[in-house]
Symmetry: C2
Subunit: 314 residues, 2 copies
């Protein structure tokens, strides 16, 4: 079963790492958010792509979910001594990825080409595609003005109150080579439990992708990033609240309503199943907290079995 | 006494570190070779400037003479895993310097401006000037063709036989701001025991610098980089031999003959003093091997006393 998964960083990478335990890794194509990408001291940093790369390569830091396990921060400490802002934590081994990517981008390679090379060099059998090869930086509209995404997210630690998001230049963006083809030929599509607004949102905003998901015959399944009104990690719950949205799996399902066939909500939220069904989406419950290799594989296994049932139900 | 010193990397930095022990560091202006500079994976690396910066900042690796003491090589190891050439050994803390420099150069700063900032940030009281703000890369003419300097020097470990050197674009180069002014207002000039062909040569090749040294009223003193037919470090002796030059302090003095007042040769070479005097240069002998802090300070002290005598001899 060829699965296409849409994912952001840490939460998405968890489910991806479960999926490659239950399907052949070569059958997985991951389409990754690039709205968080930014330039730092001339280096081009793609936080979500890197988290997914490191996770699928088995070298991600298990404590943080991002960065490389056992990495040191000697270059960063020196840059701090040299008076530079170092609120974005780049490890020494991690830095190699950014030096590599920046160098090959400057030679004229596209982000997808560099990402493919990095996958091969890291021994990753799955396909990892950036959403687009163009730059569509996420800007956060807040009560303190419009902020660059990493400025809001890392430096300000999501403190300003969110009013909305702008995915700059997204109207002009094209899906990266292979993205639409992967969706059209997928046996199933999985929307990972990433932030719907700032991780999955920027993917769906690239012209053509949402339409391709609406048009595809494969079932589209999403896993909730919200459990009992709380996000497992990150500012998802606070953002929903600040935007006057209900902080619940139901609200997440509503954002995907037009493309969704199945929604996996946590067992703790089973009372929401009826409301989600009324959106025209099949709701199933599962333990969705992925805090161990076993729970990642178990959730991925449940997702794959559900998709197989759906495919063969006719 | 305001001293201007011309220097390359390790050998030059040793005498500079001695000089700042015997004169107020703020009285020293060092003009540094930039012919070895190169771009590596998009990062602009200035090996001689960095060796001098790290040495004057007191953070140089005492074993190698280059790089930062106690540095790690985690980024480099990752880049090697990513299939890139990593024969130039860049440590993690060292990498911060190159990221910093490359970033500010890309913002439009000149190499002298970035170097001044790096000096201030590293607490260096002396002035460190690149020879020029333009790029004048040294190419090595060898029996295996023309090689980029670091390709010859680091990757090929000086194995190809040298036929000559080209300092590319040097005819168009201008001395960096402050270089000619420093020479004109110096009380004394010291040519450090750096390789005369590939460290001091590229400095003297920048139009205006050799003429300024010839014209200046301050005494010009050079310290031999060759002791008893051998270089303390690096390929100086082999290069002289390959170019059919005599491998001796006399040959070094000959290269500086037109600008030189005093030549310091090693005690082991005292029989060369007569031949050097016949070049019109005063020859003095000293222990020139700098293998300890004491010997660096002692040689620097002897140099400064000699220059003081010369200045006050009238």
């Amino acid at each position: 079963m060829k699965i296409v998964a849409l994912a952001g960083g840490v939460g998405g990478a968890k489910l991806l790492s479960g999926l490659v335990l239950v399907i052949p890794p070569g059958d997985l194509t991951a389409i990754i958010n690039i709205g968080d990408d930014f330039e730092w001291l001339g280096l081009y940093v793609c936080p979500d792509l890197d988290t997914v790369l490191y996770t699928l390569a088995g070298i991600a830091n298990p404590e943080t979910g991002w960065g490389i396990a056992g990495d040191t921060f000697h270059a960063l400490e020196r840059l701090k001594d040299l008076g530079l802002h170092t609120w974005f934590k780049l490890g020494d081994r991690d830095l190699a990825t950014h030096v590599y990517r920046t160098h090959f981008l400057s030679l004229g390679c596209s982000l997808s080409q560099v990402t493919r090379s990095l996958c091969e060099l890291n021994g990753i059998a799955s396909r990892v595609l950036p959403t687009t090869d163009m730059q569509v930086p996420t800007r956060v509209q807040t009560d303190e003005g419009v902020l660059d995404f990493q400025d809001y997210f890392v430096r300000r630690k999501c403190a300003p109150c969110v009013r909305g998001f702008v995915f700059e230049n997204v109207e002009q963006a094209k899906p990266a080579p292979g993205v639409l083809e992967a969706i059209a030929s997928a046996d199933a599509v999985v929307i990972c439990p990433s932030n719907p607004l700032i991780s999955i949102g920027p993917i769906l905003a690239v012209p053509g992708i949402r339409a391709a998901l609406r048009a595809c015959t494969a079932p589209v399944l999403a896993v909730t990033p919200i459990i009992a009104g709380q996000a497992v990690k990150g500012p998802t719950a606070e953002m929903f609240a600040q935007l006057k949205m209900e902080v619940s799996a139901w609200a997440v399902a509503g954002l995907y309503q037009d493309i969704l066939d199945v929604f996996v909500l946590d067992e703790a939220d089973r009372d929401l199943a009826g409301r989600i069904s009324s959106l025209g989406v099949e709701a199933i419950t599962a333990p969705t907290l992925m805090d161990s290799l076993e729970s990642k594989a178990a959730l991925a296994g449940l997702v794959v079995r559900k998709l197989e049932q759906w495919i063969h139900k006719d």
